[in-house]
Point group: C2
Amino acid sequence: MPRHAHQDPNILRLNRLGIDTYREPVIYMTADCPVCRSEGWTAEARIQLSYNGRSIIATLNVVTGSLLTPEEVDLSEIGWQMLGARDGDLVSLEHPPPLESLSHIRAKVFGHRLSDSAIKSVVSDIVDGRYSAIELAAFVTAFAGGRLDLDELVALTRAMTSTGERLYWGHAPIVDKHCVGGLPGNRTTMIIVPIVAAYGLTMPKTSSRAITSPAGTADTMETVAPVTLDVSAIRRVVEREGACIVWGGAVQLSPADDVIISVERPLDLDSHEQMVASILSKKLAAGSTHVVLDVPVGPSSKVRSVEAADALERLLCAVGTAIGLQVRVARTDGSQPVGRGVGPALEARDVLSVLRREPTAPADLRDRALSLAGEVIEMGGTTPIRTGKALAERLLESGAALEKFEAICQAQGGMREPARARHIHVVDATRAGVVAAFDNRRLARIAKLAGAPRAPAAGLELHAPLGTKLSPGDPVLTIHAETPGELDYARAYLRANPQIISLDGSG
Amino acid sequence: MPRHAHQDPNILRLNRLGIDTYREPVIYMTADCPVCRSEGWTAEARIQLSYNGRSIIATLNVVTGSLLTPEEVDLSEIGWQMLGARDGDLVSLEHPPPLESLSHIRAKVFGHRLSDSAIKSVVSDIVDGRYSAIELAAFVTAFAGGRLDLDELVALTRAMTSTGERLYWGHAPIVDKHCVGGLPGNRTTMIIVPIVAAYGLTMPKTSSRAITSPAGTADTMETVAPVTLDVSAIRRVVEREGACIVWGGAVQLSPADDVIISVERPLDLDSHEQMVASILSKKLAAGSTHVVLDVPVGPSSKVRSVEAADALERLLCAVGTAIGLQVRVARTDGSQPVGRGVGPALEARDVLSVLRREPTAPADLRDRALSLAGEVIEMGGTTPIRTGKALAERLLESGAALEKFEAICQAQGGMREPARARHIHVVDATRAGVVAAFDNRRLARIAKLAGAPRAPAAGLELHAPLGTKLSPGDPVLTIHAETPGELDYARAYLRANPQIISLDGSG
């Protein structure tokens, strides 16, 4: 029950300074504030704030200047958002209860098995915002690298599902498709969903934004139509069109995943176990029953070898079975980017040219999408094995897929053409040779330095797939950026790393 | 070479707002600042700032309010300190070079062995402030839990030594003593050093502040004399008195350790490997040749079992041998706190009463200190084995040790009596019984909730050692705090955890 300000010295007034600290809530307080003094708080203390029945935990930054009076506190922007408070409101402050679940992280560091309830308590605390950024980093690091057995991984997946929203559709099958990522430009979802929906299956697709890549499907789709829909809007779209392509983060499916990603991204640490828990918890929460997983394998993809793909497939199928999901893994070629564009708008252009059956549409993207759509159709429908792809091709070529895609975009709030970048730079071959290999990780890095995915039109366009014979002066790739500074960074990185595209032959 | 402001758009003016973010430098910049826009920086970006030949890397917080103009940036207090800049100075901003050594952390997460040069590059980047807090958390977590082999641990120790200052004394032996910690009140160093120096050996003792405990030796010594001395001041003290007791952090011995501690502390994660590298790198950097290590063993100490002590001893001796240090491990009883006080000033009072030969001096602290002083004397001198302790006792009883301690304090800047807390609370026994066990970790937690080590007079005093027969109403312990809020937190924690002191017998 809230206590009155004049009775409780731990109540202070909020004063909004406007500081954005990304995901971690920070509380600003003066060193000579009476609460700070009586509680003995110093910079980096964790403090629980309560307002109107809600509580959050924030990290203390101490204001030594004159930004605040001793009777005032500020929150970073994410804190205002989480607490739902307004300028001038009163908040009460106290020590948070000890974070008992951190002992499970320590136990995992020292090699112990964790019980289901231990894992559940870690995930609950993460979802409740009780982990600081460094505690999240310790969690991500301690749980990576093959340190979870199957039972622990199943428990993690279940805990991530049960701590968020769940969608129920009232019928089966509900089909889905997901790519484990790592291959720039692999934007098949936006082609598969309209084909499968045109066939008549229900495919409510929730996609993620980029983790460590230059674009996620949600980023790419957003350049064509709105993707931030709430649960009732999603339900309306799916009831009308049989499918949607929306951002999963807006509907709190497996919300632990979004918090975990906020630390995985800067650490560039993406372990198999966390990937499996992340993917399957979201599919289960979305109400899926049959899932096709696209696993690109290649030397610079996320999955680099057949052995790694075998290990990942075993994990995906084992966890899928344990949680009642039918999972089929489709391994695909991960040796080079798919399509021409890398970056949200550039990838959307590739997708649209396939759906529109343009003669210049990237054949590799089209072929991958048809194969995967065929697998989804075979898995969820009554189509015999090895006939799904041909069926998918007929639905694409008839224009049924394009019509369905446009209808989905309209249902989600309206279709638009993807933006074009204001600054571009064409990189030419400096010598003759045949394109022999791509370093996908470094290609992705160029696109990111150019501004993707934050700047939707940024990224790169590849003009020379594997096997292309180049003469000096032939265009190899074009960098797209929304600012000159970003264009320069991407160019400088490419200059410093010319081996990103390897040429064989006379030089 | 610095470029001119009117030529380089990446130069902005510093405006000091006064925000203390503890160890991690944060840069504040407006979202519509031209640099932010052209570089594509958003909250949590890592940015390199240069000023007057110095560079630091800071994490971006974006100011959306009116605290700064688009032409201004602010730094958190640690950033001003590291950069050595003043209000109004111009700084240039750029993307930091990619943090290549993070790939070694990832390799360790996935179970790979690291080369000497890989480990060296990680430690160099840490010392240079290139790791963010979450990257440090990933380092600490990935390197803990038995994941380093001996060669890796030796490489880590050497890298931590070589990236900081080193002291050279021009003669041998240089003796030292260190406790691996975990036992509240175990403040023998301040007794051993004057005994050993009175005997004639050179013992330039650098101590640390508390990591996860309520007091480190440097915190305790600081309640009696200054401990923040630079290298030339330390040299002067040691030349005059043969010994010192100073804070190691002020002289940049193994500076990586101080950075690592800033993350280990909030994570409460203190692994054997990191402990060994931390201790031995500091000893090597301090110029020591012979080191006695006190390893308290007990069910709630840092080292909980004979097996754990064996493993730690093997690591300490193996790494010591590899880096050319003679190491002797002395296992001591870790079943209960040593002396009566827990917390800087309260522990200093115990030390002074032993040195002053007061009849009420804690016998356990006195006996431990004499045994360890005997081991140091035997190791560094010509005294036959098993005669060191008797020799130490004569030096204490003659007053030579007290005289030497006072001389050391004077040489360090003057001696004072430790402070007394303004708020105390005596906890009485509620039933009859015999004191059967202490939970040292939770006792330490009470002292920390009461304000130790930040508040030097805070902590607790134990009135009933193991085996004490208590009647209802007998005092069990006294909590000391400098603020009423902290006293309340410590009392509330003790009420919620009455099993911290277990009683056997009639109740």
